[in-house]
């Protein structure tokens, strides 16, 4: 088992008392899987990802990667944040190199590695540009290249395409599928876009809100991963099933308010 989450609970202490955000989360993810976690806003998706990243610690339970308990952040997990987190004073090239620089890779090697991944995300011409000169989709691709440059074992992504228009989003999806198939990297991605989840992942964790729990695990098997598959009924069936599930959770959550 590559990534394992055991009985994870996360509470936050607030002025109005203890807020239970994640309750009894269990997950088991194999090497090379593309996992999406889907849930309504506020269901604790970002919080869950932060526990896996090691940026925050579970109240009880644990996260294990290749058998080792996660105790803190580290470059074996590549992270793409929900908001743009490029360093505004660094060029695209310097941003992409930064992780390798921090890990002591000599200049020449890190330059080559960064150039390679900038080419992978299709931004070679913008290597010398500052982030402020990029569009939202381009910024997010740089963030992906930056995460990939350290060759992490797993890519953690928090709604990376949430702010993109539908066409940019679609090309990012194709890019992700291509990347995943070529490198065999494990991906754990958070989204609230149901179609995105069905199209990209081989398994989906549907989360219920207040407190966040795993309501259902869906295994997706599509005949192919081109945009044409979105017109096929098998795609629609998965999408509708997931939609119904989330709608039901939403109504339950509203009823408990």
């Amino acid at each position: 088992m590559f990534l394992q989450i055991n009985k994870l609970n996360k509470n936050f202490e607030t002025q109005s008392g203890t807020l239970v955000v994640l309750k009894d989360i269990d997950m088991a993810i194999e090497q090379g899987e593309f996992i999406c976690a889907v849930g309504a806003s506020g269901s604790g998706k970002s919080t869950l990802l932060r526990q896996i990243a090691g940026l925050d610690h579970p109240t009880t339970g644990e996260v294990r990667i290749e058998g080792n308990s996660v105790t803190g952040p580290g470059p074996d997990r590549g992270m793409v944040f929900q908001h743009y987190t490029l360093f505004p004073w660094k060029t695209v090239q310097e941003n992409t190199e930064f992780g390798l620089k921090l890990q002591g890779v000599p200049k020449k090697e890190r330059r080559e590695q960064a150039s390679y991944y900038l080419n992978v995300v299709g931004l070679s011409q913008f290597a010398q540009a500052l982030p402020k000169a990029l569009s939202g989709g381009m910024k997010q691709r740089v963030a992906i290249a930056r995460a990939l440059a350290s060759e992490p074992k797993i890519l953690l992504m928090d709604e990376p395409f949430g702010a993109l228009d539908i066409h940019t989003k679609e090309s990012m999806h194709e890019f992700m599928i291509d990347l995943w198939q070529r490198t065999g990297i494990t991906v754990f991605m958070i989204t609230h876009d149901v179609e995105e989840a069905v199209f990209l992942s081989n398994r989906i964790y549907a989360l219920g809100a207040r407190p966040g729990t795993v309501r259902k695990v869906m295994t997706i098997s599509l005949p192919n991963r081109t945009h044409l598959v979105k017109r096929q009924s098998v795609f629609h069936d998965y999408r509708d099933e997931l939609m119904d599930l989330l709608r039901q959770h939403g109504q339950e959550a509203l009823a408990t308010l």
């Binding site: 990243a53 952040p73 580290g74 944040f81 987190t85 360093f87 992780g99």
Partner: protein
């Protein structure tokens, strides 16, 4: 819910409004460059013109308000005897040393206070207290401890700049997005690297801005310090001129102080543009 306000009736109550195009009253938008230049020149020229008009046609006692020509004359006189240069150098030196020490110390202290809540808790209360004690109020103590040489003057500037600058630098550090620091950790950086390679470059524009503002304070304090006990300096020049009713020399002193201060300000703004072109908003 009341049914009385249908969409139709609310329409009749809405006052029609439109935003007309304008050049002069543009809000948070650039105005044309020539207009900008003209306005900036007018900003200096109009007061000068008024001054000249009042003194030429106003029948005012020159002991009270000397004419621009008389002030120029006094400037030439003080310049030719090299007194003005000596005064300026003396004041500049005090500001330079006092401000440099204060800045060199307050920048790291402020960055540490902003970065580490522990250090902030340790220093913020006492700094906050010191900030509200006006630096000139320390003059009697400084004379008592350090005499009347250069040390009390430089120390005064140090006190006046150090606490303010530390707290202002601290504030700029607080605005570094937490996610940038977390991204650094995820890329393999440790705390030291996050501090030196992410926080520091991110707050550099803020630090330069804080220094720019506090340099103005230092410049005021040097004048105050020279009013008490000094043999040379622009502040001293003004107080001596006042004693002998040489109003034209007071004006010379004031204008020199203003011009030097403005030059420093422009220098800092230039530095800011040079080093921080990445900060997308224009300053």
């Amino acid at each position: 819910m009341s049914q009385s306000t249908s969409p139709h009736s609310i329409q009749s109550l809405i006052k029609p409004k439109s935003i007309r195009p304008t050049v002069f009253w543009r809000l948070a938008e650039d105005i044309p460059r020539p207009l900008n230049t003209v306005l900036m020149i007018a900003s200096i020229a109009i007061p000068l013109l008024l001054w000249w008009l009042v003194t030429t046609f106003g029948n005012i006692d020159p002991k009270f308000l000397p004419s621009p020509a008389k002030v120029m004359e006094a400037f030439g006189r003080l310049w030719s005897t090299r007194e003005l240069l000596k005064d300026t150098v003396a004041s500049l030196w005090r500001v330079g040393v006092g401000f440099l020490f204060a800045a060199l110390l307050s920048i790291p202290v402020g960055v540490l206070m902003g970065s580490f809540p522990s250090i902030r808790a340790l220093l913020e209360p006492v700094f906050g207290l010191m900030r509200y004690m006006p630096a000139p109020a320390f003059i009697p103590l400084l004379i008592l401890y350090l005499g009347i040489g250069e040390e009390p003057k430089i120390t005064l500037i140090f006190i006046g700049v150090f606490f303010f600058n530390s707290l202002m630098v601290m504030d700029t550090v607080k605005f570094v997005p937490k996610e940038l620091i977390e991204a650094t950790y995820m890329l393999g950086g440790n705390r030291w690297e996050a501090l030196t390679q992410v926080i520091l470059p991110h707050v550099l524009p803020g630090i330069l801005d804080a220094c720019r503002i506090n340099l103005a304070a230092a410049w005021q304090l040097v004048i105050v310090s020279e009013l008490i006990a000094a043999t040379e300096g622009l502040g001293r020049r003004i107080s001596v001129a006042g004693r002998f009713l040489r109003t034209d020399e007071i004006f010379v002193g004031l204008i020199v102080i203003g011009v030097i201060g403005l030059a420093f300000d422009l220098l800092f703004q230039y530095l800011l543009r040079l080093t921080c072109s990445w900060a997308s908003q224009k300053r």
